[in-house]
Symmetry: C2
Subunit: 202 residues, 2 copies
Amino acid sequence: MGKVICDITMSIDGYSAGLDQTEERPFGDDGGDGTGDKLHAWMFDTPEENRAEVDQFAAARAFIMGRNMFGPVRGAWDRQWNGWWGPNPPFHAPVFVLTHHARDPQPMDGGTTYSFVTDGVGPALAQARTAAVDGDVLIAGGATTINQYLAAGLVDELRLHVVPLTLGAGTRLFDGVPALKLEQVGSRAASLVTHLTYRVVP
Amino acid sequence: MGKVICDITMSIDGYSAGLDQTEERPFGDDGGDGTGDKLHAWMFDTPEENRAEVDQFAAARAFIMGRNMFGPVRGAWDRQWNGWWGPNPPFHAPVFVLTHHARDPQPMDGGTTYSFVTDGVGPALAQARTAAVDGDVLIAGGATTINQYLAAGLVDELRLHVVPLTLGAGTRLFDGVPALKLEQVGSRAASLVTHLTYRVVP
């Protein structure tokens, strides 16, 4: 059976998104000037340097994300929103979106299908495990979703991309999560980020 | 003129100490079994591997620390407490302790003198700068003290020793500090810790 991995970018003060998400600003107020995503500058400004981490992300065989990571639409699906990532999303695998509002699965190009799970983090993981067969399940965020999985003791590995800025407010990783024992199994510096890989010690 | 450097160990969820400090447990509840300091295991269990960071710490020409870092005594100095570090502390330089309670300077062996500053972070830094001449001033913690210096915009460099555990509660670095722009100027992995060095962009 594959691993359950959380993979997320955070500021050094632990935030994975600022306040006030909008359609134009998926990560909310990140202290930037609105022209770019400061948290993920490492991914877009220095892609070659960080190819290993992006490839590792894409190697998962199923993904889970919270609804706020999926999009800015709240409440009922009164609008056809198909994610931030265009017609051919970078997942190329089943993606399970946690939501309180049922919706039919949405197939996309390139092997991605968005499925909407309304019965919570446990059932979403069960579905993702089945879909991943013997591959890894990757919980892509946001922090609120990852915190639920961490608090439930369902995570094997944590991959953190720690970036040199603080947000001071927003959605914070580990918020409300009881103390965890971790083992550092990887740590790699790039110019705009440090990639940390921790095993969660049961 | 030297730099003003903050140098502190933190859990990946941002805590530099757990709750409930006692004389036996300077860092409070760190999730360990009380037999050792989990946050600083990198320093004591793998000293050779981390010698560069310890040497860099010791190279400062003056130090500042908060009273809780200095000791467990609260309120008036009704007891002769001379720090956690024995008769020959590892500072070998002037150490300025922030406190609300005046006390005469306390010389120690090896060049360390503890001076007690009652008029706040600004005056403490002025005294430390004078003592350091053209050397660096190092703010050694705890997080509450560092947060005050960060919020006041008085810090040039942040050296974080990030360790693989979460505490979930305690004294948190960056708590109440407005958003900071940082530049990653160093990042080095050791087996039990990742050392991050950030320049604070004014």
